[in-house]
């Protein structure tokens, strides 16, 4: 028996005994009862997703940005080899400058999120949420109207195809149909078989976005990144279009790359911070506390920080060196 039915069974005989006069106060009593039972702490099942969400930036999601840095990733041998072959100069090629980054860059990039809602004018129901693109990201449309996922042979794009629904207090979504892309700007790859599951939570004026990326080819375990954003009183505007320009690569030049075992930057990040090689190269065991205990005896801390000690991003140090 449900709690509602129990309540009716409990209350009905008493109401009968009250007579006409007592019944007059019933609406007042029921409203009071309802208020008590609902309690003061209930939040809406859905939160207002729309608006501008500024990045908080107190978490390091991809250590920005030395070339060989795969910390916090669980890579397969194939994924590691492919990543070590990557040369950032690829992004200087005219035809790749405006390629943009894939869906994962929503939480890996440094920008905020500007979200809008599209409503079906006939039914007034939400059809989709859109997170607008910025210069080097293609945005994300989350379809909320229950449309089916396309065939696995359908067109794959940088943005992919995303459907969403409200579960409890969170917006959950799944992205498939992405092009071959990256899970880090440092060249760590994702295949077109990858899937990204999203969780959007809002607490007060902070929205936390959790990305769970799964790739059967390049990831041994899912890559989980959570990034928080704060509701911004001012609208964000990142829509500057990408304009390709000459960056030292001529049309027809080959694609810059390294032989995986000859990447000249393989030790750079390791040396900066005295980090263990297997952690920087994304071995799965390095994501768990046991690994911390394993390296305790051998870890040699780097020398004290002297400059730019509070600025985010290793590129700060790199420029200075």
């Amino acid at each position: 028996m449900g709690s509602d039915a129990m309540l009716i069974d409990l209350v009905t005989p008493v109401l009968r005994s009250l007579g006409e006069g007592g019944r007059r106060i019933v609406p007042v009593v029921l409203i009071a009862l309802l208020m008590v039972l609902l309690g003061a702490n209930r939040a809406s099942a859905q939160f207002d997703f729309t608006g501008s969400w500024g990045p908080i930036g107190t978490e390091d999601v991809q250590n920005d940005s030395l070339p060989v840095d795969y910390l916090g990733l669980a890579l397969t041998e194939e994924g590691r080899t492919r990543a070590l072959a990557y040369d950032e100069s690829q992004k200087s090629m005219l035809e790749r400058q405006c390629q943009g980054w894939g869906a994962a860059y929503a939480v890996l990039g440094p920008f905020g999120l500007r979200a809008s809602t599209q409503i079906d004018p006939a039914t007034n129901k939400v059809v989709s949420y859109t997170i607008d693109s910025w210069e080097d990201w293609n945005g994300l449309t989350i379809w909320m109207d229950g449309r089916p996922r396309p065939s696995q042979y359908a067109l794959h794009t940088q943005e992919g195809f995303t459907t969403g629904k409200w579960e409890g207090g969170a917006l959950t979504a799944r992205t498939t149909h992405m092009k071959v892309g990256f899970i880090r700007k440092t060249g760590v790859p994702l295949t077109d078989q990858a899937t990204i599951d999203w969780r959007f939570y809002r607490h007060d004026d902070v929205m936390t976005v959790v990305m769970i990326a799964t790739d059967p080819v390049y990831l041994v375990e899912p890559e989980i990144v959570s990034k928080s954003f704060r509701l911004s009183p001012r609208p964000l505007d990142y829509r500057t279009p990408c304009v390709p320009g000459y960056e030292g690569r001529e049309p027809g030049d080959g694609v810059p790359h390294f032989a995986p075992d000859k990447n000249p930057f393989a030790d750079e990040f390791i040396k900066f911070y005295s980090l263990p090689k297997e952690a920087v190269l994304g071995y799965p065991e390095t994501l768990y506390p046991e690994y911390r205990k394993k390296i305790k005896a051998t870890y040699v801390p780097p020398p004290p920080c002297k400059e730019a000690c509070g600025q985010a991003g290793n590129f700060v140090r790199r420029r200075e060196n």
């Binding site: 999601v61 910390l71 959570s226």
Partner: protein
């Protein structure tokens, strides 16, 4: 009139019954069990001790800088302060395992194997005449469920912690003061390939050593049992 009073008494009695349910009885999500840190973010700040003097990503105030630059783990150890980086505002980011249990019907308990710390999250308010507690590493935590009204359930645990002893946000001596307030939300969701994920969103506010709130969101995977539970004492260097 008497009938009116009887109805009001009935209403009150039903409401008291509803209110008398404990936090454990009304828990909309199950946080109990063993959880392991899955360190995919802030790796360099969590899995190893960062360089002395570095405080990237933490909005440290000018007042914090002398403490950051003067960090002396040997002195901390000698003074019995080796748990400074295992205090309430830092502990959820320290890689390790959580064991979450109900200590009683209105107190959720979190034990950590890293640093062997215990947090008690109190759903029932302390009596008005209760004696003020001395500040402690884990402070005083007031908890409440934040429910959604959706039919499929889903909810969050909100915890506000104060009265913590001054400690470190990071192992390398980035400080927080005794005036710190920490607000946390615990959310649980299913992982796509099975298992559960616990996300803890943490907002640390310190009028002394922070210029802005310090927000982190460590996450944990659920484990089937405590076979990997491995308590270790606090250390000022690791």
């Amino acid at each position: 009139m008497r009938r009116g009073l009887a109805a009001f008494a009935l209403c009150l009695s039903v409401s008291v019954t509803a209110q008398a349910q404990t936090a454990r009885d009304t828990a909309p999500i199950d946080l109990t069990g063993y959880w392991v840190s899955y360190v995919t973010e802030n790796w360099r700040y969590r899995m190893v001790t960062p360089p002395k003097g570095e405080y990237r990503r933490i909005p440290a105030s000018p007042a914090a800088l002398p403490i950051i630059n003067g960090w002396d783990p040997v002195a901390d150890e000698k003074a019995g302060n080796q748990c400074k980086s295992f205090g309430g505002a830092a502990i959820m980011n320290v890689p390790g395992r959580l064991h979450i249990t109900w200590q009683d019907a209105n107190t959720l308990r979190i034990d950590t194997d890293a640093g062997t710390q215990t947090r008690r999250l109190h759903f029932a308010a302390a009596p008005l005449n209760a004696k003020p507690q001395a500040a402690s590493w884990q402070g005083d935590s007031a908890a409440r469920w934040e429910r959604t009204s959706s039919t499929e359930g889903g909810s969050s645990l909100r915890v506000v912690t104060t009265n913590m002893r001054a400690g470190y946000l990071r192992k390398n001596g980035v400080p927080y003061s005794e005036r710190t307030t920490m607000t946390e939300h615990f959310d649980v969701s299913a992982l796509p390939q099975g298992g559960q994920l616990l996300l803890v969103n943490i907002v640390v506010e310190d009028p002394t050593y922070l210029n802005a709130p310090y927000v982190t969101s460590p996450h944990f995977k659920k484990e089937p049992d405590g076979s990997k539970w491995d308590p270790t004492p606090c250390s000022s260097t690791w």
